[in-house]
Symmetry: C2
């Protein structure tokens, strides 16, 4: 496997790094960031995965997420992958909501996307294996979170493999690609017109179909311009209620979809994960 | 005067705004950001000015500075101006360290800079008056800080008018433009070859010439690539020592010149200012 260091900066007593590696899943170079708090030599730390939203790379949360103070305090490693394959040889779409920057954490089956757009397997398998090898992580103590499209990624990845994650949260997630324009465009494009095949990429459908987590935390701003048409948080609340899935879904008055919102509640989320990861 | 709102986002319970106005000092539109914490109706809050470094706009610290949590906790307004005039009609230099993005907080007397490069008067007078009018600030309780070129700006502005500021700090400041290549280029260009005229723009010279502050706080990373040639923190330590100027100058092991460093110590600085502003 192997990886190359793009940058390393001391921050909050630990190391914020950016790394690059050749991915066999996506067939491209992939860049990701990892914050490793100060720790005792030989110690293995719990790890929190953060999946980003549409148009983002690893850099958005790394620069604006304000997670390092809390991760340093709780001794949690923070991993932020990219949201899609990149490069001139990778197919793209004119929209911001499909193609590059919009991998939707699926394994595409439709052409021309199927070769490179394998973000599900990239996150679930390849990057996990790399992180386990290269960083002082305790892979028995993993949590996952994300924002918007990345909230969708976090919820669906965890619901499909609940034993891997001790803690799951999301900021303003897309809760049901089956029931919003972003999801409709992306899943039609990546996995085709058969909507039955979308259910493993839909948090609400996974819960309806019997998947369960010990609990989950969602923060959603009430002034988020995407709430009504795209995010539709109430569908997740209804699915959890109906299925008896424990969930803390907090509507945050006046907050929008930006990192000004995410950073406000980031320390809360890190603490929530740390409590479960260190229990 | 008047100003226009570019954006407003709820964050940490308060409002992070970006604003634009026509400056009579610089003859250009100027953009700045202000964070106003949640506060009781009618309350006036202390204000902390943050002056940015070379190449920066208001946006760098607004996005990466991680000041909002601490400002919300302590009830401090945070103002981040731009570092120079902008626009096609404004003269510029090929270097990153002179012209646009590099106003050095001076009033230029040399052509072609004298018309627009009036960042000293812009910060000291025009923007102060605008902020006093448009935001719920208690102008009797002002503090000032900044990074690199902005640390130079904060120290020199405060040393020239110590009664205005109850608290002064800096992150990796340029402590003596008289004694570094950045300062040599900028002050020669903006205020001319007579080095006696530079002394009011040099923190060490101001202290040598008798200016005093109640105290000051400086954090400087030991792994900062600019430390030895440009920042030369020891000159400030020596000037303070010689003059009996109280100063807390902390060399922070392993930190560089980036916002990964600034954000690490931002909460410390805000708390340090808040203690003095609210005393």
């Amino acid at each position: 496997m192997g990886m190359e260091t793009v940058s390393r900066n001391k921050s909050f007593g630990g190391t914020q790094g950016v790394y690059r590696h050749q991915s066999s899943e996506t067939g491209t170079e992939m860049t990701f960031s990892v914050f490793v708090p100060e720790h005792a030599p030989g110690a293995k730390l719990p790890v929190l995965w953060y999946l980003s939203g549409l148009t983002c790379t690893h850099a958005n949360v790394t620069e604006k997420g304000e997670f390092r103070a809390a991760c340093a305090e709780h001794g949690v490693i923070f991993v932020a992958p990219d949201t899609s394959p990149r490069g001139e040889e990778v197919p793209d779409d004119e929209g911001y909501d499909f193609g590059k920057g919009a991998g939707f954490y699926v394994d595409a089956t439709e052409e021309p996307w199927a070769t490179n757009f394998r973000m599900r397997s990239y996150i679930e398998k390849e990057l996990s294996a790399l992180v386990a090898t290269e960083f002082p992580v305790d892979m028995e103590r993993q949590g996952i979170t994300g924002h918007s499209m990345g909230g969708h990624g976090a919820l669906t990845i965890a619901l499909r493999d609940p034993r891997r994650f001790r803690s799951v949260s999301a900021f303003s997630p897309i809760v049901s690609p089956l029931n919003c324009p972003w999801g409709d465009k992306a899943l039609t494009g990546y996995v085709g017109a058969d909507r039955a095949a979308w259910r493993e990429y839909d948090a609400c459908a996974l819960i309806e179909d019997g998947a369960r987590l010990p609990d989950l935390l969602v923060d959603q701003g009430t002034a988020d311009g995407f709430l009504e048409e795209q995010l539709r948080t109430h569908l997740l609340a209804e699915a959890c209620e109906k299925a008896g899935q424990p969930a803390t879904i907090r509507m945050q008055e006046g907050y929008d979809h930006s990192y000004y919102f995410i950073s406000t509640f980031m320390a809360d989320h890190v603490a929530w994960h740390a409590e479960r990861l260190k229990a």
